[in-house]
């Protein structure tokens, strides 16, 4: 089936002796050290890309643990003290019947980060394993991950805005918890991880049989 879908091998830039600038997109002959247009360094494949991906990814995962364990918001309302974690907040919202908002928070704070972890890990794992790649599909996946990653910060934004606005002393006060920082770090790390990934690696497997 696979062979049936991909009857002919893909010609990669490297196989064609070319190298593209990742910055401006100009194609140079292989071996050109610097881009003639923008001057950025050219390399056919980023060295250590996967290492960096994995490193950022692990850091993001580590940061994600306290982001879920520790409270995100510290709410004090009329002396009543409340701490809510991300999941706890979702459950609270569901309890109060705000299913829409609960879904948004759940998506932005749980599904997307976790999905990113899996997506990046999957991409990093699949690269270099011949016969398994679907070049186009993986590239699309990568683009989605990179695009959507920034929206994970919505939680952090909410917390930041609430903390800035709701400072009414006794009546109500909202402060960011440890989880907010952790979550922000986690998102940042995963974004870096996604950025570190060199999507050209996806195609290496396609050309492998030729090599």
């Amino acid at each position: 089936m696979e062979n049936a879908l991909h009857p002919r091998p893909v010609l990669t830039a490297r196989a064609a002796g070319l190298v593209g600038c990742r910055n401006c997109g100009r194609v140079h002959a292989r071996g050109t050290p610097h881009c003639a247009r923008c001057g950025s360094r050219l390399s056919s494949r980023e060295d250590g890309s996967l290492q960096m991906v994995w490193a950022w990814l692990i850091a993001g995962l580590i940061a994600y643990i306290p982001a879920n364990i520790y409270p995100m918001l510290l709410t004090k309302s009329l002396g009543h003290h409340a701490e809510s974690t991300i999941v706890g907040g979702v459950f609270d919202l569901v309890d109060h019947g705000s299913y829409g908002i609960a879904a948004i928070v759940f998506t932005a704070s749980i599904i997307i980060p976790v999905g990113k972890f899996f997506a990046i890990a999957y991409l990093a794992w699949i690269v270099g394993r011949p016969g398994r790649t679907r070049g186009h599909r993986h590239t699309r996946l990568y683009e989605v991950v990179e695009f959507i990653g920034r929206w994970s910060m919505i939680d952090v934004f909410v917390v930041a805005i609430l903390s800035a606005l709701v400072q009414l002393d006794f009546a109500a006060t909202i402060n960011p918890g440890i989880a907010a920082v952790s979550f922000a770090l986690s998102v940042a790390f995963t974004m870096l991880s996604a950025l570190s990934f060199d999507p050209r690696l996806i195609w290496d497997a396609e050309e492998a049989p030729q090599t």
Partner: protein, 787 residues
């Protein structure tokens, strides 16, 4: 074109070592891990110690939210809320700061602070918004590691570490005592009460109190506590007294204390004090410092001890020397049989009667025994005239029968008692009050006023003013009558008659009549003496008569006076007539006849008969004398009757009498009445003629016979008088019956009405007499002839 060129040399760069190949970025997760682990370890290391708090329930406690505070600083948080194994109680797991937990002693107190509203104010208000919290109180002990505590249901009265003294109070009941009620010293709150609880014996209430540090130094054995709760109103000889505690004490109860006397011993922890119901009782309690060294005595009473209660005072001449400890009844066997005596047990403090406070009981009893020998007796007495409370007084009784303190083994010595005069006093006072109450002051006043008004009316009456004039005229007329020759001739005639009588007397004397007469007089004298004795009762009679006079006085006498005046006028007019003036000669003639008759009489030896008659009379007098012995009783009865009569309203009678007089007046005033004297004169003339005929017709002999009959009659009277005592008795009965009768006929009775009717009939009879007089005038002979 490059196909046949040698393959481009694959230049493999020397394989970099693993470490060289490692990206710097790997530092980031490493650092993240390190930081995370660091944070985790720190939070674990900083985590507090979990302690178990056991509560009855977990009202308001929320895991993760409820905090534990010590001195109002948060030192922990509740983590879990669970149950004991048997679900009987709640176990709260609280995470306490390590530093604090390290010095938690096993006796640390935990309790839940909730909002509480009481008369003393609001506490725990902050918990309304923030939710309850668990408060902790303990004295930190370094190195302690207790992990399980029993929580209190309520805030403790005394927090550990607070300086002060804890005491125990004994009260009759816990009505007015509420937990946390203040303990006041001169109005300043110096401590608090805990919750009252029943004494183990069930006959009282025990409550712990805590007196804070600087003030607990005031507590000595001389301190007395009393209840401040509510109002205290007392009415006594000193007047109305109202005690009101402060508002908090009023609502939630409170107690106050004071050191009543100097010289108390300092107290230790958990000293027991009595809680008195009121301040006065607390202060008085000092005087019955019974228990220490008081001697107990029994007193038996035969009268009612109603009003005597346990705790009542025992007074010695007005000084409190002890109190009644108990009252009871006891059946005792006496020679007359079993009887119940009321017994009061009293405690007498030797210190109060001037002995040494520490004197042995035996010596105290000896001393009291000496007092008893000198006449000291127990007696019930009232405390005041308004109160029914009784006290026992120990009073010296001068004329008491000798007695001693009766000492009985196994029982209190018996002190002799005397009957009190309580009931007499009460009865007397009541009697006096009743009498005063029954006085008819209003009626007396009304009668006095009406009497004065009547007197005033009489004095003002014209008839009263005219009466003297009429009298003067009457006197003038009389003088005119006397001045006439015929009248002046009368003495001569009378003198002759007297001479004749003297002759008769002489005869009588000759016949020894005088002795009889003397004895008769003696009898009469005796009668007089008896009467005099009887008159001893007169004062009463006089009093009754005086009352009657007063009543009569009150009667409307104007009419009477007017009528009397008219009668006098009429009489004067009658005397003024010629016929009246013609009377004296006729009289003179009649006297002459009489004189002649007497002369005849004397001649016929009538004196002897007379003497016999006198003897009979004498005997009769003696009998009367004997009968008169019963007079005093009769007089009494009469007096009673007079009193009764006195009570009768006689106004109507007087009015009727007045009418009678008026009728009489009218009678006299008629022509017929004026015509009477000539008729009488004529009649006398006839009489004179008749006498003459009689004398000539041997009337004297008839007279003798008549005198004999008279003597027989006198004898019969004498016999009859022998029955006089009986008659007297009957009269007495009659009088008493009359008394009851009069009694029965009160004001406005039928009797009065009938009396009035009788008087009216008398009035009519007088009119008939007037008609009769007219008839006689027309035919004088009918008088003698009998037709």
């Amino acid at each position: 074109m490059t196909e046949h060129s040698p393959a481009e040399m694959e230049i493999e760069p020397p394989r970099r070592s693993f470490w060289r190949n490692l990206s710097v970025v790997w530092l980031v997760p490493v650092i993240a891990v390190v930081v995370s682990l660091g944070i985790a370890w720190q939070s674990y290391a900083d985590r507090g110690v979990l302690v178990q708090l056991e509560f009855q329930n977990a009202t308001g406690i929320a895991p993760g939210e409820t905090v534990v505070k010590f001195r109002e600083v948060t030192v922990g948080t509740v983590e879990t809320v669970g149950f004991t194994a048997d679900l009987a109680r709640v176990i709260i797991g609280a995470r306490i700061d390590k530093a604090v937990a390290a010095s938690l002693p096993p006796d640390a107190l935990f309790w839940v602070v909730r909002p509480q509203l009481s008369a003393r104010g609001v506490s725990g208000l902050s918990t309304v918004l923030s939710g309850v919290y668990i408060d902790a109180a303990f004295t930190p002990v370094a190195g302690s590691s207790a992990k399980s505590f029993k929580g209190l249901e309520e805030a403790p009265l005394v927090r550990p570490g607070r300086q002060g003294t804890r005491i125990t109070l004994r009260a009759k009941n816990g009505n007015q005592i509420s937990p946390g009620a203040p303990v006041l010293y001169r109005g300043v709150e110096v401590g608090q009460l805990e919750a009252p609880r029943l004494a183990p014996s069930g006959d009282g209430v025990i409550v712990n109190a805590f007196i804070a540090s600087p003030h607990d130094a005031r507590l000595t054995t001389a301190t007395r506590f009393w209840d401040l709760s509510g109002f205290a109103v007392s009415i006594g000889a000193s007047g109305l007294k109202l005690d009101v505690g402060n508002l908090a004490a009023l609502v939630s109860g409170g107690i106050a204390f004071d050191t009543i006397f100097v010289g108390g011993q300092p107290i230790g922890e958990d000293t027991v004090f009595d809680l008195f119901p009121e301040e006065s009782a607390a202060r008085e309690s000092v005087f019955n410092s019974v228990g220490a060294n008081a001697v107990r005595l029994s007193v038996e009473f035969t009268e009612s001890v109603n009003g005597l209660s346990s705790g009542a005072a025992v007074m010695y001449r007005g000084l409190r020397v002890g109190e009644v400890v108990a009252i009871g009844a006891e059946a005792s066997a006496t020679p007359a049989g079993r009887s119940v005596v009321l017994r009061a047990t009293i405690a007498v403090d030797p210190g109060a009667i001037g002995l040494s406070a520490n004197m042995p009981a035996d010596e105290t009893l000896n001393f009291i025994d000496g007092l008893v020998a000198d006449g000291l007796r127990a007696q019930l007495a009232t405390t005041s005239i308004f109160s029914a409370k009784l006290v026992i007084e120990l009073n010296p009784v001068t004329d008491a029968p000798p007695a001693r303190l009766i000492r009985r083994p196994g029982d209190d010595p018996l002190m002799p008692s005397v009957e009190s005069d309580l009931p007499n006093f009460t009865a007397t006072a009541e009697g006096v009050l009743e009498r005063v109450n029954a006085l008819p002051i209003e009626e007396v006043m009304a009668q006095a006023i009406s009497l004065m008004a009547s007197i005033e009316d009489i004095a003002r009456e014209e008839g009263t003013r005219r009466a003297p004039d009429a009298l003067v005229k009457l006197l003038d007329e009389t003088r005119g009558l006397i001045g006439k020759d015929d009248t002046q001739a009368l003495p001569g005639e009378i003198r002759q008659a007297v001479a004749e009588l003297r002759g008769v007397v002489a005869d009588l004397r000759a016949a020894g009549t005088v002795d009889r007469l003397a004895s008769a007089i003696a009898s009469a004298d005796k009668v007089a003496g008896d009467l005099a004795a009887a008159s001893g009762d007169f004062p009463q009679l006089v009093t009754g008569l005086r009352d009657l006079a007063a009543k009569v006085n009150a009667l409307p006498a104007e009419d009477l006076v007017a009528s009397a005046t008219q009668v006098l006028d009429s009489a004067r007019a009658l005397i003024g007539t010629d016929e009246a003036r013609a009377l004296p000669p006729a009289l003179t003639g009649a006297l002459n006849e009489v004189q002649a008759a007497v002369a005849e009489y004397r001649a016929s030896g009538a004196t002897a008969r007379l003497t016999e008659a006198l003897v009979s009379a004498n005997q009769a007098a003696a009998d009367v004398s004997a009968a008169s012995a019963d007079f005093p009783a009769l007089v009494d009865q009469l007096s009673a009757v007079a009193t009764k009569v006195d009570a009768l309203p006689a106004e109507d009678l007087v009015v009727a009498a007045t009418k009678v007089l008026e009728s009489a007046d009218a009678l006299i005033g008629t022509e017929e009445a004026r015509a009477l004297p000539p008729a009488l004169t004529a009649a006398l003339g006839e009489v004179q003629a008749a006498l003459k005929e009689l004398r000539e017709g041997g009337a004297v002999a008839n007279t003798n016979a008549a005198l004999a009959s008279a003597r027989n009659a006198a004898d019969a009277v004498a016999k009859a008088t022998e029955a006089l005592p009986d008659i007297t008795a009957r009269i007495e009965r009659l009088v008493s019956q009359a008394g009851t009768l009069v009694d029965a006929y009160g004001a406005r009775s039928d009797f009065n009405a009938q009396t009035l009717a009788v008087l009216r009939e008398v009035s009519a009879a007088a009119r008939s007499v007037a008609q009769l007089a007219r008839t006689i005038e027309r035919n004088p002979n009918s008088l003698l002839i009998g037709r």
